[in-house]
Subunit: 191 residues, 2 copies
Amino acid sequence: MEQLKSRIATDGRVLPGNILKVSSFLNHQIDIDLLDAMGEEFARLFSDQKITKIVTIESSGIAVACSAARAFHVPVVFCKKNRSSNVPEDVYSSVIHSYTHGTDNTVIVSKEFISKDDSILIIDDFLANGAALEGLVSMLRQAGATVVGAGIAIEKGFQDGGKRLRKAGLRIESLAIIESMSPETGVVFLN
Amino acid sequence: MEQLKSRIATDGRVLPGNILKVSSFLNHQIDIDLLDAMGEEFARLFSDQKITKIVTIESSGIAVACSAARAFHVPVVFCKKNRSSNVPEDVYSSVIHSYTHGTDNTVIVSKEFISKDDSILIIDDFLANGAALEGLVSMLRQAGATVVGAGIAIEKGFQDGGKRLRKAGLRIESLAIIESMSPETGVVFLN
C-alpha cells in the first residue's frame, strides 16, 4: 500500500537491532485518516471472504483493528494479556513468547465472544517472528472458529514469521513488507 | 447519551463489588457503530473548543479515543504503561494507583507528541475514583499543554472522582453517569 510505505519512508525511524519506530503515526500517536485508509485496504484485499469478526491483541493492534472493523461492518474483539496468576475458566488462552521483552505472556479472550460460527480476520500492526499471530490462530481454533487470514500493517519480511505461517496454510496480507532496513540505508520494501 | 445508556441497560452486567461489565460492546468486544456515535457526541459536546489532540491510556480507552479523533479530525496519542524498571528520559510520566488491582502503574508519553501548543481532550471509557484521569492531567500539564477537558463514556457517579476533579476546575462530559447499581436492581442513571 503506497500511502503506508511512503509514510514509513518519511516518518519511520530505523534504530539499531532491527527496530522500526512508527510511533508518530501508528502505535503511540495515531493518524486516523491513514488508519482508515488501511482499514479500507484490508476490506478490499479480503473482499472475497465472508468475515464475521475482527480479532487483535492489545494494545497496539486495537486502533488499526477498529478501522478494519468499520470497513467490514463487523465487531472487533481484542484479546487481553492475562494479568492475574490464574487463567479464568471462561476464557480461551494461549501463551505467547515476546522476543522483544524476553517474557511469556498469556493472552486470553472471553469464550462469549468467539464461536464456531465465526469467520475471523486477525489484524495486527506488526508481523516479525510470528509468535503473536501463531498464538492467536491457535487460540481461535480452540474455539472452533474459522480463521480466514491475517491482515498486517507492517511485515518484517527478513524475519521468518510470515514465511512459516504462509507455509502452514495461513493467508496473510501485509500492507508493507520490509525486505531490509538499517539506520544508514533506511527501509527497503519487498512489495 | 440515550444510545449508550440503553445499551448499558440491555447488555451491561452488574457484578458484586460495583463492577459493571460492558465487555460485549465497549472494552473487549467493540461495537464500532456505537463507538463512532460516541465520538460524534464528544465532538458535539466540545464543539466550542479548539482541540488539537485526543489523549487516552492503553488499552481500553484506545477504541473510543480513535472514534473521537475521527470526529474531531485530529490525531490520537495513547499513553503507555511503563514496563521497564526505569523511566526513559524522553517521556513525561505519572504514577497512577489502580484500586482494582492494588498496584501502582507508571504511565508514560513520549515528549515528541505533546507540546505546549496542544489543546488536549482526554478520552476514556470509565471514570470512577479519578486516579487515572488525575494522573493524565498532571502529566499533560508537565508538558505545558492545555487540557481542555475530559470526555468519558461511563462515569460511576457514586464514586468521588468526577466530583473532585470538577471541583478542581476540570471540565468533564460523561455520556452516561451512573447514580447507583446492583446485581438486583441493575443500573440507575443520573443523567
